[in-house]
């Protein structure tokens, strides 16, 4: 061991899920709407995550509309390129946060799969070969790469 590095994929904004904020009446058109900020930045991965939990995403340029158990919401990119959700009037903050948490969890798994795919695809070009791949009890994945000389 000589160096430990923590990395955040570009698909994730540099905030933790725990820091994602749920606010009422922030940046939304109607004062009765609920807005929830997220860490999600990658549109295809967000759409996949929404599909995985049956949110039926419908994309239209910079807006993604979803529906979870008849609760309708839309994602729009903020100025930092991060997707923020707004829920229709009458949705409680608790329900909105719960739905976004489910999407965030599915999104994390999509990011994990995407990172795995990139490593397998790109490692040989970076002078490395995959020695082993382990699925851990917590569903994290451990890869061991050998540096080629």
């Amino acid at each position: 061991m000589s160096l430990e590095i923590i990395l955040i994929p570009m698909a994730i904004a540099l905030i933790t899920a725990a820091n994602a904020k749920a606010k009422s009446n922030v940046g939304v058109a109607s004062p009765n709407q609920v807005a929830v900020e997220t860490r999600m930045k990658n549109q295809p991965l967000l759409e996949k995550a929404m599909s995985k939990i049956s949110c039926s995403p419908i994309s239209d340029e910079n807006v993604i509309t979803g529906n979870y158990n008849s609760v309708v919401f839309t994602f729009k990119r903020n100025v930092e390129g991060i997707w923020a959700a707004s829920f229709v009037a009458g949705t409680s903050l608790e329900v909105a946060t719960e739905i976004i948490s489910k999407i965030d969890k599915a999104y994390g798994l999509e990011v994990q799969a995407e990172v795995l795919r990139k490593i397998k695809e790109r490692a040989p070009q970076s002078g490395m070969s995959l020695e082993s791949e382990t699925l851990n009890e917590d569903l994290s994945v451990t890869l061991l790469l050998t540096v080629e000389h």
Binding site: M1, L3, E4, I6, L7, P9, Q112, L145
Partner: protein
């Protein structure tokens, strides 16, 4: 020379922890940029472990370590 490896842990929330193994001294720093490119990710923290201060010894030809006192 010991085999050089990189261990990568990818959590279910998408965050990544990487650890170089058997890569000594300043050379291990090169792998921050390599991993950022490989993973399309930003390094937000890095720390050295005990092997950073280890020395790589190269023995060539008939030279060796003389243990005789």
């Amino acid at each position: 020379m010991a085999t050089e490896r990189i261990r990568i842990d990818i959590s279910t929330d998408g965050t990544i922890k990487a650890e170089t193994i058997g890569i000594l001294g300043q050379k291990c720093l090169d792998y921050i940029a390599v991993l950022e490119d490989l993973l399309d990710a930003n390094a937000i923290h890095s720390s050295f472990t005990k092997d950073y201060n280890s020395h790589e010894v190269t023995v060539t030809g008939e030279q060796g370590v003389d243990n005789a006192s």
